[in-house]
């Protein structure tokens, strides 16, 4: 009886050991801790991150804004955003007098955090759409250029990051960003911006905003990965970056971007 029990015990323990050895045990430990797996094999030079945003798919639900604020500790309130959503309303213009063209009416109450209340009626001749915004992870980023101490830098995998242990809080970078993507964090008193959820993407996860997007309007893409569907997407669609005249090497590509968007 005793020997049988010992054998059973041995088999149970050894099978558990075999099952949970190596990667499996690491994964099990991570799951047990509630942490995403570590990425010991992540090599920065193998990646070149960007994002594709499909304007036609964005429904202005604000999930991305909420997810981002929760994930990255962005202060609540209408003045601090790593990502936000704008609603564009373009009234029917007088095509014979383009110089008198009315400006688009844009709103982004609380950055779209609470979603958007219905405001414009269908069939009134206007054009309405949502534009999610975030740091464009420029490869010639003006914010990096002007930082007096190099606290803002471009990582080898194409993400513009801020070292909050090093930033002086001079706010020169905030002025240098043509897209308004930076703010001074009121608690740390350092510059803050979208990090493309760097802590997640190096672990093989997608960004919080992409994960929370119900329509797939935002997609994290690895431009260095030949198997990433982004290459096919960029080939098959007419995409644009924001303010191309700024020549910042922006890596957030918009599909179906209207010319009125700034």
């Amino acid at each position: 009886m005793t020997s049988k029990s010992d054998r059973r015990e041995f088999l149970r323990k050894s099978s558990k050991f075999l099952l949970l050895s190596g990667a499996a045990s690491v994964a099990y430990a991570s799951v047990a801790e509630g942490q995403p797996e570590k990425a010991p094999n992540y090599r920065m030079h193998d990646h070149w991150w960007g994002m594709v945003i499909d304007i036609d798919l964005c429904i202005g639900c604000g999930n991305c804004v909420r997810a981002d604020k929760a994930e990255n500790g962005v202060p609540l309130g209408p003045k601090y955003f790593r990502t936000w959503v704008e609603r564009y309303h373009i009234p029917p213009g007088d095509l014979q007098h383009p110089e008198k063209e009315e400006l688009p009416v844009v709103d982004s109450e609380n950055g779209g955090f609470d979603g958007f209340k219905e405001k414009y009626k269908k069939g009134d001749g206007s054009k309405n759409f949502f534009v999610p915004k975030l740091c464009n992870q420029c490869s010639h980023s003006p914010c990096t250029q002007v930082c007096p101490v190099g606290a803002t830098f471009e990582s080898p995998d194409g993400v513009v990051l801020v070292d909050r242990e090093y930033c002086l809080g001079c706010r020169y970078c905030i002025h240098a960003c043509p897209y308004g993507c930076r703010y001074l964090h009121p608690e740390t008193e350092t510059a803050d911006k979208c990090s493309l959820c760097y802590h997640r993407i190096v672990r093989g996860l997608t960004t919080a905003c992409c994960e929370a997007c119900p329509t797939g309007a935002r997609r994290l893409v690895d431009l260095k990965d030949p198997n990433d569907p982004v290459h096919e997407f960029l080939k098959m669609h007419k995409v644009h970056v924001l303010k191309p005249q700024m020549a910042t090497g922006a890596k957030v590509y918009y599909n179906a971007l209207d010319g009125s968007v700034r």
Partner: protein, 394 residues
């Protein structure tokens, strides 16, 4: 257009609602401009041998020093982490205009201004170190840096080196303030700032403000000390002020005309801003009262002959208006550049606080501080010598 938040008109990117650079950053180019302008005035006498402005030579140098010592303070007070500011010198990011400015500032302070003042005053410092008792005597002894040699040969070397430093100092002063202009002018994201005219406009407005400041300080100190003002000096300085002003105004108008004529995508937004939020500070204070009126007054002195008292009155009024106008110009650049959205679809407002870190109170204190320093400097190193060739001790 819709209003969602107080003080906001139209649409701004949400992160733009709050202004990043406050009145302290307005003060900084204003003060640096006074430094550069005062030094350039001093250099006129030394390098170009303009005898008429000689009475203001040392005063201009001391004024430049007093303001230069205060120049970094508004920046320091504004930083989120002032304790890290030294990193700008220790680990500078070479592509950053701001980081490089730190070195230009140090160069100008240590290699130009302090050295020139020391060489110019060396003989008096040594004499005073030997004759002044007590604590003050020790200060003079410290200021000799251990060199007591005031033989004629030694003083001749001082003079030669001093002249050389002034020659180096002129481009340095140009660099100092031109570079401040570059800090703003190189921000391509901001159409109100981004123009190659910015350094040159900053430079000439600096010369204007520096000359006006020295003119006023000279009259004020002469008045306080009961000394007779040298009218030839005042007239010449005021004439230089007029010339510098004409160039400055010409450059600013060129910039304005160019913007109006080109009328690029940012024009409607900026034009609206100038006609609304910036109307008082730009059109009234900067252009009309701060530029056209003083230019008119200074030109009047050139055209008709006026009594000494009338001329003095005109110099005081136009000097004060000039300083107000140049301060307004700095305000319009720094604050104006943040009032409109980079989306060109909306505007925000700047609400100045009072007794906060970046409020009006520290600004006033920082603006008065250079005058306190200047008062101490004038006591320590009197800028004028009496008839016997000794320094006038006040």
């Amino acid at each position: 257009m819709e209003t969602a938040l107080p003080g906001v008109q139209g649409f701004l990117y949400p992160n733009e609602i709050e202004l990043q650079w406050s009145v302290l950053i307005v003060l900084y180019p204003f003060i640096t401009g006074l430094v550069a302008g005062a030094f350039i005035l001093a250099s006129l006498e030394r390098v170009f041998n303009v005898q008429a402005v000689k009475p203001t030579y040392r005063l201009a140098l001391l004024t430049a020093l007093a303001f230069l010592l205060v120049a970094p303070l508004p920046l320091q007070l504004h930083l989120g982490h002032p304790e890290r500011s030294l990193e700008m010198y220790l680990t500078p990011h070479t592509s950053s205009a701001m980081a490089m400015f730190g070195f230009i500032y140090l160069w100008y302070l240590m290699a130009v201004l302090l050295l020139e003042i020391w060489l110019d005053y060396r003989k008096e410092i040594v004499l005073r170190a030997q004759s002044t008792p007590g604590m003050l005597g020790w200060i003079y002894k410290l200021m000799t840096l251990g060199s007591y040699n005031i033989s004629p040969q030694s003083l001749e070397i001082d003079d030669k080196v001093g002249k050389f430093i002034t020659v180096v100092g002129i481009p340095s002063a140009f660099l100092l303030h031109g570079y401040v202009g570059f800090i703003f002018g190189s921000i391509k994201a901001n159409p109100w700032w981004s123009t190659p005219m910015m350094p040159i406009v900053f430079l000439f407005s600096a010369i204007v403000s520096g000359i006006a400041a020295v003119l006023l300080v000279y009259m004020l100190i002469s008045f306080i000390q009961g000394r007779k003002t040298d009218m030839a000096c005042l007239d010449t300085t005021a004439r230089y002020l007029l010339y510098a002003f004409l160039i400055d105004f010409g450059l600013e108008m060129l910039d304005l005309i160019h913007r109006i004529y080109e009328a690029d995508e940012s024009f409607k937004t900026l034009d609206f801003m100038v006609h609304t939020q910036l109307y008082t500070s730009q059109v009234l204070l900067q252009i009309i009262f701060g530029t056209i009126v003083p230019i008119g007054l200074l030109a009047l002195v050139q055209l008709i002959s006026l009594s000494e008292a009338a001329r003095k009155g005109i110099y005081v009024i136009s000097g004060l208006l000039t300083l107000v106008g140049i301060f307004a110009m700095r305000w319009n650049v720094v604050i104006g550049g943040q009032l409109f959205s980079k989306s060109f679809l909306g505007y925000t407002t700047y609400k100045m606080e009072f007794a906060t870190r970046e409020g009006l109170l520290p600004t006033i204190i920082l603006m008065l501080l250079p005058f306190a320093i200047l008062w101490a400097l004038v006591k320590l190193l009197p800028p004028w010598q009496d008839e016997a060739g000794h320094s006038h001790s006040s």
